[in-house]
Symmetry: C2
Subunit: 190 residues, 2 copies
């Protein structure tokens, strides 16, 4: 959508290693008005899908998940990356490779928060190779919950994760799909 | 405030090691209406303080920070716990001991997002021994920014971090202060 593409062109910075830095508005400093527009866009797209949970992974998906959940008025649940002292009881677990951090994480979600009755909207800030989203899809599968939709702020289309999800039949809505980027230009998929 | 105390009594669970589990509404599954009430309570308390930034630390402070920022209409900035590939350039850093995870973290904030002109509202879900908040205060000090206020959803009063901050003159507003807790009861400071 134009509002996200325009902001990327204005404030996004391309870095080596296929990194698109959007830290001034999306994932280190947060522009709350923009994130609210993101939430509304996801609501407008998925409002007829009977969504019961907004699911993301910590940390940079949480802001988008909250702004989205405000429109849907359903709980947010987020998969956690490290085993804290507080996560007792049964957990869903999946292994996710983080492109940003360059490592594998085990992500966990307490089983009590997701069931076979749930219809889930998965959201995240970035979609690159799709490992994070696929980890969340795996968790939904373990719960028997339906993945009713996937909302992404910025998809790096050239890394293939989005195309793979679409080919597998997921209802993926990315507000901006970057098909090419270098130090001089960023090209969006139309 | 009563709405937070009531929810703790209804859904909070006391665990060994002075842990108060509030995962069903505050920091694993998020009740977005409740978090919006938290944001509004912080806004009502601090709206005349000229706040320019809402500052927290990832991950469980982010949701509260976003809901608070919606009322203030200022950016959220959050300190990050691990060095990602994307954090280039100058960083403020501080060492924070995480009570939840039982380890020391280095937390970082890009310098470009905080300046001596800023008046900061620090927010977080929990305040126990105060290490996380003090790490954020340290970062503000490095930037020359003023800590205009501190908003906490749940303070574990018996762990002393809050009393220490108040004694040092900080304007600390905790929605619930737990002074005693065990498997059978939770007592709030009045």
């Amino acid at each position: 959508m134009k509002f996200m593409e325009d902001r990327i062109l204005k404030d996004g910075q391309v870095r080596p290693g296929h990194i698109l830095k959007v830290d001034s508005f999306l994932n280190h400093q947060l522009d709350i008005s923009l994130l609210s527009e993101v939430g509304k866009a996801f609501y407008d797209r998925f409002k007829d899908k009977g969504i019961t949970r907004i699911l993301t992974v910590e940390a940079s998906g949480i802001a988008i998940a909250c702004m989205t959940a405000e429109y849907f008025q359903v709980p947010v649940i987020f998969a956690k990356k490290s085993k804290s002292q507080n996560l007792d009881g049964d957990l869903f677990t999946s292994v996710v490779h983080s492109y940003t951090y360059g490592i594998d994480n085990t992500v966990t979600l307490a089983k009590k928060f997701l069931s076979a009755n749930d219809r889930v909207l998965i959201v995240d800030d970035f979609l690159a190779n799709g490992k994070a989203v696929n980890g969340l899809i795996d968790i939904c599968g373990q719960a028997g919950a339906e993945v009713a939709g996937i909302g992404i702020a910025i998809e790096k289309g050239f890394q293939g994760g989005g195309d793979d999800l679409r080919a597998r039949g997921y209802d993926l809505f990315s507000l901006a799909v970057v098909d090419e980027m270098n130090a001089d230009s960023i090209k969006f998929r139309s």
